[in-house]
């Protein structure tokens, strides 16, 4: 992984002497000025959707890319966040006997609820190594969708919940921009700290990491809970923005896949890969797949296969190496690289 080599200087330098974070800050400032140019609401909505996808991808990257625990059910936390906001804004009187909350009050709980759930779930599933964790999370997602459907008195079941509309595209724009800045900034910070190094060590070799003094359980759980917290916040935001939630729109399978694919496409475990991957993926969806909506999931599935096989380092890796696996390798039956060189 060249990215790692390039960012670690030979002696410690102040975090804020790194150019990449200033480029990021510059981009964020530009984005913050964008609404001044009086764009149409449709454009603001597109921007908001891109920010949401980047945020989701970056959060998934924390557990899936950096820690190496492939979470096939991360959308669970998005759903918990969305339903926390939905329930607290519309039904808190009947269910928790609390006064109806405003979005801002409910929003805080959406992150917390997701995090608490992640801690409980993590206590069980993070003890499982790699593949078991992946399948357990996939099952959690399937189960969660059914539970939400069945708990009609609380969640509205298949009929869904209508949230009080407070549509303000500018407000939504800045909120999602802030969330994205926070998530990606946090990834950058973690990547440059000892905590991030330890997470990468867990991904590469968990037993070795443990033998070198890293409390792997604590590290994994922290990364998982943090990722869930931020994903819950995105879910809560999304529910408010969409003003309507039901199991199908919240646990929307393409969203689950898109956050994973954005990370793999951009570069697993890198800071800037997921944002890049998310933007490219969003572009592909808008300009190409929207004409083939019926095959959206199929396109995503094929894309995942393609990226894993031919872009193992993602776009970031491609930019650093300057080459992908040549096409004629496609028909070679053997793995192109042996374990010694690659793994």
């Amino acid at each position: 992984m060249r990215a790692a080599t390039a960012t670690s200087a030979s002696a410690p330098v102040s975090l804020f002497r790194r150019w990449d974070i200033w480029a990021w800050v510059g981009l964020i400032l530009l984005a913050a000025l964008y609404p001044l140019s009086d764009p149409t609401t449709a454009r603001l909505l597109v921007a908001t959707q891109i920010f949401v996808l980047i945020t989701l991808a970056s959060n998934w990257n924390l557990i899936g890319g950096m820690t190496g625990y492939v979470d096939f059910g991360h959308l669970t936390f998005f759903g918990i966040g969305a339903y926390t906001v939905g329930i607290l804004m519309t039904r808190s009187k009947e269910i928790v006997f609390a006064p109806q909350l405003s979005f801002w009050q409910a929003w805080v709980f959406s992150g917390l609820a997701a995090m608490v759930f992640a801690l409980l779930l993590g206590a069980a599933t993070l003890r499982l190594r790699g593949p078991y964790f992946s399948i357990a999370m996939l099952a959690t997602l399937l189960a969660m969708r059914e539970i939400v459907r069945l708990l009609t008195p609380i969640t509205g079941g298949g009929g869904g919940l209508d949230l009080p509309p407070e549509l303000n595209r500018i407000e939504e724009y800045y909120l999602s921009l802030g969330l994205m800045t926070l998530s990606v900034g946090l990834m950058w910070w973690i990547r440059n700290t000892e905590f991030g190094l330890s997470l990468l060590a867990i991904r590469e070799d968990e037993v070795g990491a443990e033998m070198r003094g890293i409390n792997t359980t604590l590290h994994k759980t922290t990364a998982f809970a943090l990722s869930a917290f931020l994903t819950g916040l995105v879910g809560g935001f999304w529910a408010w923005q969409n003003t309507y939630i039901d199991p199908d729109v919240v646990f929307f399978e393409p969203r689950n896949l898109e956050m994973i694919i954005a990370v793999v496409l951009g570069g697993l475990g890198t800071v800037w890969g997921p944002p890049l991957g998310a933007v490219v993926l969003y572009g592909l969806r808008e300009f190409f797949w929207n004409r083939f909506l019926f095959a959206h999931l199929l396109g995503l599935g094929l894309m995942l296969i393609f990226v894993v096989l031919f872009l193992p380092g993602g776009l970031i890796g491609l930019m650093q190496k300057g080459r992908a696996i040549p096409l004629h390798e496609l028909l070679r039956p053997r793995p192109a690289v042996s374990q010694e060189e690659e793994a």
């Binding site: 992946s134 399937l142 095959a295 599935g301 894993v308 096989l309 193992p312 039956p333």
Partner: protein, 294 residues
Amino acid sequence: MPFLQALLNGILVGGFYGFMVLGFSIIWGVMGIINLAHGEYVMMGAYFAWAMFRAFGIDPFVSALLVFPIMFVVGYVLQWLIINRVVERPHLISLLLNFGISISIANIYKLIYKADYRSVTVAYAGSFQLAGFTFPTVKTIIFFAALLIMVGLHLFLHRTRVGKSIRAAAQNKEAARIVGIDVHRVYAITAGICIGLTAVAGAMIAPIQPIFPFMGPIFTVRAFAITALGGLGRIPGALLGGLLLGIVETLLTIYVPGAGAKVGTAVSFIILVLVLITRPQGLLKGLRPVEGGA
């Protein structure tokens, strides 16, 4: 004797599960690959049986025989072209790849057959009485067919040259390579057999299971739970795990009000997590540690 009758039903279903899981468990045991698309191969088998039944009125159990060579080729080619490339890379990669394969297959079927539920109703769909028990005819046939195939597979793995090289590759890849076994070809054959068998399982349950493109994941989760119970790559273990899961599922469906047909995923999930938390090496200590130990 409602309890004993429920137990019987559980055993009949469990025998099928034990057979259904074999492909998954052998692929994992031999190559260390977690086949997340396992359920999709079950689904492909079921659709094949449905299509044959609808178009030509062919019995699903005959289709089960026909589907094996077809899916053998599919499995062989998939392994040869795609999965062999990632077989030696970290689990992260093969998991993502198989996840992509599983989604692609399910959605190709959705494009072809739409998301509707299909079913196959055979003439002998009823049940018969024996020794005071009610035997659902189809499930009974499936149970004995599953046992028969398991015995056959056991003989194949232990008595034939190909079977022996599969077991050799599973035990020590390097040594197998040294004695002249083409490991990647063995992997492709293994995948062909496993995916073929999985589709056979799918074709066999076509008469008792609603068929739709997204029926796969629940079988994959079940396969995980069974391997956690019974270990990897061993036929008796798979049978035992399958029986346990089948019995628990059936009893819960009967005794827990409102559990209904959705019980499958939840039960498997809970079993999986409970087993792995209390006994990380599997109930029978048969799980291979996921990473190569030092």
